[in-house]
Amino acid sequence: MRTSLFIAIILLSGCSAGVIHGLVNLALVEPYLDRAIGIENQHMFTSGEAKDTPQFWAEYYSYRAWQKGGQLLAGAMLGTAIGALFGIVFGYARNILPGNSFAKKALVLAAIMWITLYLIPFAKYPANPPTVGDPETILLRQMLYVSFIAISGFGALGFYLIFRRLRSKRFVAVLGYAGFIGMVFALMPQNPDAVTAPTDLVNGFRAMSLVGVTAFWLSVGLILGALWQKLQPDRVKQTKFQ
């Protein structure tokens, strides 16, 4: 394995997919974020915490423009981080994944990781816009979210090891994971915060958030698969003496 090339294509694919994620969010998620933050502003005016003045709005629009720029930077950072995990798993699993090319294998792995690390946790603890979320419960919510993702991810890994050992009826391992994660889903506590924001805002935000993260997983699978196919970092030249 050419170590530098292996690391470089993983980081490049993750960062690129993260920027795509950020761009999708700018187009689809930001309108919902603006609306939710508008509700927070109204609450601040009502409570007297802020005054509805031209100066407030000038500072607000400047601040929001900065935060929207941060969407792209954070996308690149998050994409690079998750892409690093994706690359590690792909490095170990590429020879056992189904598919007749690395591009197809990467897409299969991206789909598996999207389901186990994002979609199932999202079903239990869906994304929420600003105005939903009590600062007092942030630690609990973070612990629940991370725990659920870890349990789902390691659960999938465990049932994959069972899958490998089975000579026949391998679907039992898939059913086993489904039963296991279904039980965890039922037993884990709910998000303690009440959702008081308008339903159309919350549902629209969640749908667009889902589209954005899905675009990331699709992109990282396509990009890493294509780069691996072209550059094959695991192919090394050796001189043989006879």
């Binding site: 394995m1 170590t3 292996f6 690391i7 993983i10 994620h21 950020g22 969010n25 998620v29 930001e30 974020l33 900065w66 935060q67 929207k68 941060g70 969407q71 930077l73 954070a74 996308g75 950072m77 998050l78 690079t80 981080a81 998750i82 690093a84 995990l85 690359g87 590690i88 490095g91 170990y92 020879n95 994002y118 946790p121 999202f122 603890y125 869906p126 994304a127 929420n128 816009p129 600003p130 979320g133 009590d134 942030i138 919510r141 973070q142 979210y145 935000f205 667009m208 958030s209 954005g212 993260v213 695991d234 192919r235 090394v236 030249k237 050796q238 001189t239 043989k240 003496f241 006879q242």
Partner: protein, 71 residues
């Protein structure tokens, strides 16, 4: 008489140094985008970093959009 020839082989193992680098990037990136509440900058700015929450504010929109708990 001996001669040499160059062959291409596939090495399947992931280098340990790559594993270490990628795992570090994963942990650091996830923490910064998903969870930092001033911890990183507190190394330089002390307690003030927890009040400013610069990284939290910068990554705020992605934090919500990617599904991390916020506020």
């Amino acid at each position: 008489m001996s001669f040499s020839k160059e062959i291409t082989i596939s090495k399947s193992s992931v280098p340990k140094v790559a594993l270490l680098v990628l795992a570090t990037i994963f942990a650091f990136g996830i923490f910064e985008v998903g969870f930092d509440q001033g911890q990183l900058f507190s190394i330089v700015f002390g307690e003030q970093a927890y009040a400013d929450m610069y990284i939290h504010e910068l990554t705020h929109d992605m934090r919500h959009a990617a599904g991390f708990p916020c506020h």
